[in-house]
Amino acid sequence: MFKYFSSTNIYLLIQKLIRFINSIFFLILIIGLTFALVLSPPDYLQGDAVRIMYVHVPSAWIGLACFSVITLLSVFNFIFKIKNFYFINKSLSPIGLLFTCLAIITGSLWGQPTWGTWWAWDARLTSMLSLMFFYVFYILTFKLLNKKDQIIKVSSIIAIIGSINLPIIKYSVDWWTTLHQPASIKITGSSSIHSEMMLPLMVMALVFLLYAALIFLMKYKTEIIRIKKKNIKRD
């Protein structure tokens, strides 16, 4: 079974996945943008500013999801020393940082017309900013440290400490009185968002997910080539 996880098989799978994503990405992007910018209705209170939600919410979801995966794999890597997890985390972290930054920027652009301010030291906003710093520290370990064991140790510690921030981000709107609204979409229980807005949001989330997957696969492919290049004579 383990032969399916060899770098060669992973490389061939990556090639197929990249081709698949490339073939469907632009179609879904056009559908998503049409829904988000044209077909979805304006909000009764926020007006057209609500359209920022279609880029802000998926960015935040992916930023959080990437860090959750990084934490999980860091723990496994710390215990079992699986080298693929190291490369997965190295490839995932810049994507997580990108989407966390985008969530903060688009949130700020949404905050100005709805709250009347670009920024507030609100629990949700501050915890998202902390997540961004955890990503920066995490990525810096790969840039500044040389020994792989040292990188795994330090980056895992950062990921585990940073993971404490994840439930804080999720529940900050319930635990404290914040400017940021409580969650409108719930996995368990009924969501308070109308289906006419839910559909574009889900399509845009799929677009963001496909983009993140594409970048991840390209980065992971680069890592495999780097290893193969080192071992070219041994192959």
């Binding site: 770098s7 060669t8 490389y11 061939l12 090639q15 910018l37 044209v38 304006p42 007006g47 057209d48 500013a49 359209r51 920022i52 880029v55 802000h56 960015s59 810049p94 990108l98 930054c101 985008l102 920027i105 688009t106 652009l109 949404w110 100005q112 017309p113 983009y211 594409l214 970048i215 390209m218 980065k219 492919k221 680069t222 495999i224 080539i225 780097r226 193969k228 290049k229 070219i232 004579k233 192959d235």
Partner: protein, 77 residues
């Protein structure tokens, strides 16, 4: 109609700027990632070309990744 679509009842600046920032950032990251990938593929090919014929054949025989990179570069060229 086009003007009202662009102005979005006064929220156009925030909406278009948000979508614009996301779009530009994503394009920049995509191009940068693609450039790095191509760079490493090229470096891999250079290393492969530097091998002796025997070593090169052995490397290509044993590594499907090497075969794939070589095939991709031949397709492009």
């Amino acid at each position: 109609m086009i003007l009202s679509f662009i102005s979005m009842n006064g929220h156009g600046f925030y909406v278009w700027l948000s979508f614009g920032v996301v779009f530009i950032s994503c394009v920049v990251v995509f191009l940068k990632t693609k450039k790095t990938l191509k760079k490493y593929e090229q470096e891999f090919l250079v290393e492969l070309q530097a091998l002796t014929l025997e070593e090169k054949n052995k490397a290509l025989e044993n590594s499907k990744v090497a075969q794939q990179i070589l095939a991709t570069s031949l397709k492009i060229n």
